[in-house]
Amino acid sequence: MANSITSTGHVDHLEKLMPHESIINDEGEHVVLPQHRHHFETAEQQREAGSFGMWLFLLTEIMFFGGLFFAYLLYRNWYYPAFAVASNQLNVPEGAANTAILITSGFFMALGVWAAEVRKKKLLVLMLVFTTIFGVAFLGVKADEYHEKYEKHHIPGASFSTSMFTNPPVNPKTGKPDELPLAPDMAQHTEIFFFLYFAMTGMHAFHMIIGIVLLFWLTWRAHRGEFSSGYVAPIENFGLYWHFVDIVWLFLFPLLYLINRHPIH
């Protein structure tokens, strides 16, 4: 008996012929998800393919950031003194706070995925909103840090000044400068550190902005109840993307902010 699945009106055929393929909801009767794309055999196969595809995309992101991380690794070894002093210009409390904010945002995203799986729509929407709030908070702190670099003339390019490094200002409390003065040629290499700092955190912030835009769209769709009846793939895949962006920051924070924080004398 050839189970011919013509392209028209396939939903009822599927129902009759492959009952075990559809998702069994609470009352145990079989319902086929409307989002079931025709070219997949089962919804399960579609979901597996979706997360596998998302992971492959994250692979490209790993290699994309990989190039930057290698450049950082190379120049940190070549110009360690410049990197150490320049890294001390970054504000550790703000960085640590940012890391905590992003971890919290990831936590709420994970709870969001859970809420979608157990089909609690209101909880899902709430979690997505929290994730967005913390995401935006992260960007706010980032913007403040960038502004501080702007004031100190640490943005690479024409306006970059190394005076801060060649003769470091005296710390009013201790009466002595916090840093050893850098030789002028080494001070010039601090511009490479700040270029890498802006390239890596800028690329990370750009990915955050994309994530937040997607979050607004997903929150709106979640609010319309699309993801609380078994179809969770978009939430799950966005969760993967969001956690990936969180992992990139988990590496960026120690590598950029904490190169050499122990006091020098």
């Binding site: 597996e48 393919a49 595809g53 995309f57 190039g67 270029f195």
Partner: protein, 558 residues
């Protein structure tokens, strides 16, 4: 009804009664929008085929101009700047807009779902997005060309590309960045489809070798392309802000660019050649009526090439001041990566043993591939061995080597694939005798063009030279003559394939009596490929199964 012993395998339905099937993916929907917004992998393959052919002939035109200029030792056809823009455009268009996407995006898109028994690729919308990104990348490249061209060479060597040129480098870099994502999405689609959407019974070792080689190429696309993306971003940033990681006067290291660029660009040459090898496995097996000799060896050597492809990139940099010891390591690994290609060549040769061989056009192109790819591959060993590389690198020997592999190997395989699956894609047969003529013309033209360049290479004529010493002229004239013949050889298929769309004989389901799943359904296929999901219980290239099926005359699936 056993066909009389003739010299050809082709069996077409009786032309008087045969018709193109009423419902197929071409006439399923009408109107431009149904093509531009399609999710059907077959239609996207046709869109890719048209846009790739368009860019191939633009790149080919630049090749013609270059050969025309090199007819005379003096720089007399165009100014140096224009000549530099010619070879840069030739490189960028041919590599990023033709060779990387050609077989995967056209034949791969069309055939992989059918060959593994799926209705479509895993992500049809991403597949369409991939084509749009390709077209945007192409348009941006043409924009860079029209606005004034870019003369950095396709390798964007820094610090030349970042500080010493004011041509449209950023436009070209953005174009390649976008076209790179088209290649990533194609690779991503293939990997997910091959892993997750095979028909029941289609185990890994029952899949055709075409699917295996596209799978290996997809791994390279997904893992390699992003590194090129970040490298081009860094080049663009350095041009905009002026400080960067590649500027030696500010402490940067230009060799870091070479490492990051070649980390992608060497796997890219395997992205280009592996799908071509897949086509050759299919063609050789069909026209010798035999299972590919050592199926598992050929399948695993595709994956081995993909894996080793990541370890060898610095053989492009042997004389650039990389340390002697790392040069040793990369030279040794380059020798290892050459072995799987040798395995494949011998396996194809032994597939012919005890076969029942016929010589249609795809088979002619396959023979051309085997011959020319052997030369291309072995000359690669010249460049892999350190001492030889010192004398041969950056000369015309390199130009001849990669054209033997890319044009002799990849393009011959692409044309073999186009001729082999043309009946399946369009339902029409192409004129056999004229296509054989064009195959022979291309073969002769190709050898006449690039064999002299090996000799020029050993004589030391440098690459990308607008003018050269007089004693090299004879060989250059030969090469230009060959280029004209090659140009004619590549123009012909455009004509008779176009002609066959309207006047070609009706092909029927299985004109070549091949065993692939794609030959068991109607041609051109339905939009959803199969009326029901096929159950596979036979091995790949199983001609006994085909024989039994034809005797029973049961159209199980079509």
């Amino acid at each position: 009804m056993s066909t009389p012993i003739t010299h050809t395998i082709v069996n077409l339905p009786d032309q008087a009664t045969a018709r193109i099937p009423k419902r197929n993916y071409i006439n399923n929907e009408h109107g431009l929008l149904s093509w531009l917004l399609t999710g059907d992998h077959k239609r996207i393959a046709i869109l890719y085929l048209i846009s790739i052919t368009f860019f191939f002939f633009i790149g080919g035109a630049f090749a013609g101009l270059i050969r025309l200029e090199l007819l005379t030792p003096a720089p007399d056809l165009v100014s140096s700047d224009t000549y530099n823009k010619f070879f840069t455009m030739h490189g960028i268009i041919m590599i990023f807009l033709f060779l990387v996407p050609s077989v995967p995006a056209t034949l791969g898109n069309f055939l992989i779902p059918i060959m593994i028994g799926a209705k479509d690729l895993a992500f049809p919308k991403i597949n369409l997005l991939s084509w749009y990104l390709y077209v945007i990348g192409g348009i941006l490249t043409l924009a860079a060309l029209v606005l004034g061209g870019v003369d950095t060479g396709w390798t964007f060597t820094t610090p030349l590309s970042t500080h010493y040129l004011n041509t449209h480098v950023i436009t070209a870099a953005t174009a390649i960045f976008i076209a790179g994502f088209a290649s990533i999405f194609t690779g991503l689609n293939f990997i997910v489809t091959i892993h997750r959407m095979r028909a029941p019974g289609m185990t890994w070792f029952r899949m055709p070798l075409f699917v295996w080689s596209n799978y290996a190429a997809s791994i390279l696309m997904v893992l390699g392309t992003p590194v090129l993306a970040i490298t081009l971003v860094l080049v663009a940033l350095e041009r905009l802000i002026g400080i960067g990681v590649f500027d030696p006067t500010k402490g940067g290291d230009p060799l870091l660019f070479q490492h990051l660029f070649w980390f992608y660009s060497h796997p890219a040459v395997y992205i280009m050649i592996l799908p071509g090898m897949g086509v050759i496995s299919e063609v050789i097996s069909t026209f010798s009526r035999k299972r590919v000799f050592g199926y598992t060896a050929v399948a695993f050597s595709s994956v081995a090439i993909a894996l080793f492809g990541f370890f060898v990139w610095a053989h492009h940099m042997f004389i650039m001041g990389v340390s002697n010891y790392s040069a040793l390591v990369f030279s040794l690994l380059t020798m290892l990566v050459a072995v799987p290609s040798a395995i494949k060549i011998f396996n194809w040769a032994f597939t012919l043993q005890k076969g029942s061989i016929t010589f249609e056009t795809p088979m002619l192109y396959a023979f051309a591939f085997i011959g020319l790819f052997t030369i291309g591959g072995l000359t690669g060993i010249f460049l892999g061995s350190l001492g030889m590389d010192i004398h041969l690198t950056e000369t015309y020997f390199i130009v001849a080597h990669f054209h033997y592999v890319m044009v002799g190997g990849m393009l011959m395989a692409f044309l073999a694939g186009i001729h082999f699956w043309w009946p399946k894609m369009t339902g029409r047969m192409y004129p056999e005798s004229l296509s054989k003529l064009s195959a022979v013309t291309s073969f002769i033209g190709f050898n006449l063009t690039f064999m002299p360049q090996f000799i020029l290479g050993y004589l030391g004529m440098p690459r990308r030279y607008h003018a050269y010493p007089a004693e090299y002229q004879v060989l250059n004239v030969l090469s230009t003559a060959g280029a004209t013949v090659l140009g004619v050889g590549f123009m012909l298929p455009l004509l008779y394939l176009g002609w066959s769309l309207k006047y070609g004989a009706i092909a029927g389901n299985n004109p070549w009596q091949a065993t692939g799943l794609e030959w068991q359904i109607q041609s051109p296929p339905l939009t959803e490929n199969f009326t029901e999901i096929p159950i596979i219980d036979y091995e790949a290239y199983d001609y006994e199964w085909l024989e039994k099926k034809q005797r029973e005359e049961v159209t199980t699936v079509g």
